[in-house]
Amino acid sequence: MSQMIGKQSISFTEPPYILASGSVVGKKEGEGPLGKCFDMVCDDDKFGSESWEDAESTLQKEAVALAMGKAGLKQEEIRYIFAGDLLGQTIATSFGIMNYKIPLFGVYGACSTAGESISLAAMSVAGGFADTVMAVTSSHFASAEKQFRFPLEYGNQRPASATWTVTGSGAFVIGTKKTHTKITGITTGKIVDYGIRDSMNMGAAMAPAACDLIAAHFEDFQTKPKDYDKIVTGDLGYVGKKILLDLLKEKGFDISEMHTDCGIEIFDKDSQGTDSGGSGCGCSAVTLSAHFLPHIEKGVLKRVLFVPTGALLSTVSFNEGQNVPGIAHGVVIEYEE
């Protein structure tokens, strides 16, 4: 039986389950509203490493270890790992999970990588190509600033629309073993370009992609906003959230009641000075792992549409005058008794 549905979605006939997840964050995230929920908060943002890049690798390594430990699995029992990060050539991933000896699919979807890797992991399990796989993503404030903006010690002012890259890594174990959380479907996003050139306003660059994906999801699954307890975007922040709600309203969908954004949830913008909110691959991954998954597991939330969003740019494309297009990936996570 075909599991394809609509134009860009899959509805799994035998939904894969999320067996366990692990989240590791830095000090600032630990001080935020979700601070107590994370599995591990490290006071040293260098995680005992020599460089920021190495620190991000350590984040991934720890998140994978935590998730495997919680699922009670050994590395030999993980068939594949789908992993990615924001650094050039995804080096945080390469050096982070190198020692695990698990067959790897490296993925890149900017900050939407959490959604992309979970989608692929779910497909591989639902398709019968693997029994237990993992999806892991990470981001680090300092390594991202170094790569995309300025050195940390350089004094400058951030515009009010800027987001704050989350230092964190989230890992998910996905498999056939029954639990309370299952992935029932996915919708894969297209690249959407609305002509934004401002790399300090990622929310505005990514909101159209989130809108496009959510509308396509409703169309493909023949559902309405009310069918979901929560629609969770990745890192649109305050600016992007407003745009998303406006754009979807134009298309005839009102999701203001059930919409929330991981970038908004993870920081307290007034006391933490994070302006528009959190961002990065780690933002949506750790928020899903530490905040939303436990709620789904308890049955407080029955059906959640998780939509991490990414801005597709590099410093080269930006300096050469290209727009900043966006992408989003949707994953439906449901509660099972």
Binding site: K146, P151, G155, G195, I196, N201, V239, D246
Partner: protein, 160 residues
């Protein structure tokens, strides 16, 4: 071909419309407040400079030598504060008031040196120390050269 142009025009209009909408809803910082903070920060740095200058002159140094000491002390102070990660907080509060004086320039050179140290003495610090200050140095030297040429020509034709 004509149809394609029409489509791209339509797309451009849509993108322009979206950009205008985004501009409208994106929050901005209060300009008068920022200007006041910059005024205070910049003013304090300049007052400190004047203080150093006065001390040097009071100790019998001539004006040029005093100016040299003043710049060097301010640069040293900025680099030390950068190393202690204090200068970014000053710049965050004071904006251009902290970036425009010589201390801001020193910060923009010291910061990449610290950040890229891990990539080695040559390819790290050597190649990247001027990633922020480079344009200022290049175009600063170029502009002074261009003005020098103008001055030279002006002098030859008796304009100056």
């Amino acid at each position: 071909m004509a149809k394609k142009e029409q489509v791209s025009e339509e797309k451009q209009a849509k993108q322009q419309q979206y950009n205008e909408y985004v501009k409208q809803i994106t929050p901005t910082r209060s300009l008068p407040l920022q200007m006041l903070k910059a005024f205070i920060t910049g003013g304090l740095i300049c007052t400190l400079g004047q203080f150093i200058l006065n001390i040097c002159e009071g100790n019998g140094l001539d004006k040029d030598t005093s100016g040299g000491w003043c710049s060097m002390i301010l640069i040293l102070l900025s680099i030390v504060l950068t190393g202690l990660n204090i200068y970014p907080s000053i710049a965050k509060w004071g904006g251009a008031g902290a970036l425009v004086p010589i201390t801001g320039f020193a910060n923009s050179v010291a910061a990449p040196a610290i950040e890229f140290q891990k990539e080695g003495q040559v390819f790290g610090i050597g190649c990247k120390i001027f990633t922020i200050a480079g344009p200022v140095i290049l175009y600063g030297i170029f502009t002074s050269w261009a003005l020098g040429v103008i001055y030279w020509i002006g002098k030859m034709i008796g304009f100056f």
